[in-house]
């Protein structure tokens, strides 16, 4: 029997540096990837919400956008798709790397990057997701798990629940919410959340995440849809959904 030809994996690239982006496209297309480059964050977010899911996302850490940083974009991808993300950074600073990983990035690479190294990192990461060229077929989207409960409009920053009511979130509240979505039924650690949102290590006395969680909790309770945030003593927070396996067994 004849084997069906393998579909080329789709790589979505977001970097406002046109030269670097074009170079990445050239290097990856040479290696049999399909590339979808974006120079503007807004265009990328529209695509993320409406178009074909990529097999892997490559996102620059430092984006020339007043609205979103690379960390914001990484969280958005992770709260929407079960797909690997590689962050491109210009420095090897621990804070940068830690915040990339805390925001959900699977890998990072320092620019200007060696194409062989980048491709090796991409393929290693895609293997873990079952989306490497030899194993096509992405896993289920995280967003699908939550569709019956709510939807998020990232551009307007609104959260709409299934009873039709909605609430506008601040950028940081939305960032925290995205992290809850990625954490699914696990506890969201305060320190990791802080790093993923603010891009720096958290001072142990800093209460920013607690304040943010409290504000978000009030807004969620105001929607009257049974969605809530519970505090896990000594750990962090967990998102609880109504009559769902997600957050059903909340430790007391």
């Amino acid at each position: 029997m004849k084997k069906a030809p393998l579909k080329k994996p789709l790589v979505c690239i977001l970097d406002d540096d046109e030269i670097l982006t074009r170079m990445l496209v050239s290097q990856l297309e040479r290696r049999q990837y399909r590339c979808l480059p974006f120079l503007k964050t807004e265009d990328f977010l529209v695509h993320l919400d409406n178009q074909e899911k990529a097999d892997i996302y490559i996102v620059d850490f430092f984006l020339d956008s007043k609205k979103s940083s690379g960390l914001d974009v990484c969280r958005k991808i992770k709260s929407r798709h079960r797909a690997p993300v590689i962050m491109l950074t210009s420095n090897k600073g621990t804070d940068t790397i830690v915040s990339c990983l805390n925001a959900g990035a699977d890998q990072y690479t320092v620019k200007p990057c060696n194409s062989n190294e980048l491709v090796a990192r991409m393929e290693a990461t895609m293997r873990l997701y079952g989306a490497a060229p030899e194993f096509p077929g992405p896993g289920p989207d995280l967003a699908d798990r939550y569709r019956e409960h709510f939807s998020v409009n990232w551009l307007l920053r609104t959260l709409t629940v299934n009873n039709g009511t909605n609430v506008r979130l601040t950028e940081k509240e939305l960032a925290l919410f995205e992290l809850f979505v990625v954490a699914a039924d696990s506890t969201l650690n305060r320190r990791l959340a802080y790093g993923a949102i603010y891009g720096i290590e958290m001072d142990p006395l800093n209460r920013a995440v607690d304040i943010l969680a409290s504000r978000l909790r009030r807004k969620l309770q105001g929607l009257d849809a049974g969605i809530d945030i519970v505090t896990i003593r000594g750990g962090g927070y967990m998102l609880v959904l109504p009559q769902s396996e997600v957050g059903a067994d909340v430790p007391s």
Partner: protein, 121 residues
């Protein structure tokens, strides 16, 4: 390596990064980089007039990686030094570093144009 020791233009860098010596492709990249250099010089002049340090950092960051990719090694190093200085708030160095970036970008531009003309001839 000291800033002045870095090559103004390493013509082997871009073909190595792109893994091609196809002249048309290389020229496209050089032309795009030259356009960005002009924009950088213009934006630096504006930022200098306004003493806009945040913008210096942004400009330096924006072209740093591209410079290294196309082989503008000295400019890449000068931009990295400017970005670093903006981050560490070392005000005293910034004027000298901007002057260095402007001077190096001009030398780089000349070198890349010469490389493009060589090909035409």
């Amino acid at each position: 390596m000291f800033l002045h020791e870095a090559l103004i233009f390493d013509s082997e860098q871009l073909p190595a990064a792109l893994e091609t010596r196809e002249e048309e492709v290389l020229q496209d990249f050089y032309a795009l980089f030259l356009e960005q250099l002009v924009e950088l010089q213009r934006a630096l002049a504006t930022a200098t007039a306004q003493r806009d340090k945040a913008n210096f950092r942004l400009l330096a960051h924006k072209l740093k990686s591209s410079s290294l990719l196309v082989g503008a090694m000295r400019l890449g190093a000068a931009l990295a030094a400017l970005e670093e200085s903006c981050l560490s708030c070392a005000d005293a160095d910034i004027d000298a570093l901007i002057a260095r970036v402007i001077e190096t970008s001009s030398l780089t531009s000349t070198a890349i144009r010469a490389r493009l003309q060589q090909t035409v001839l």
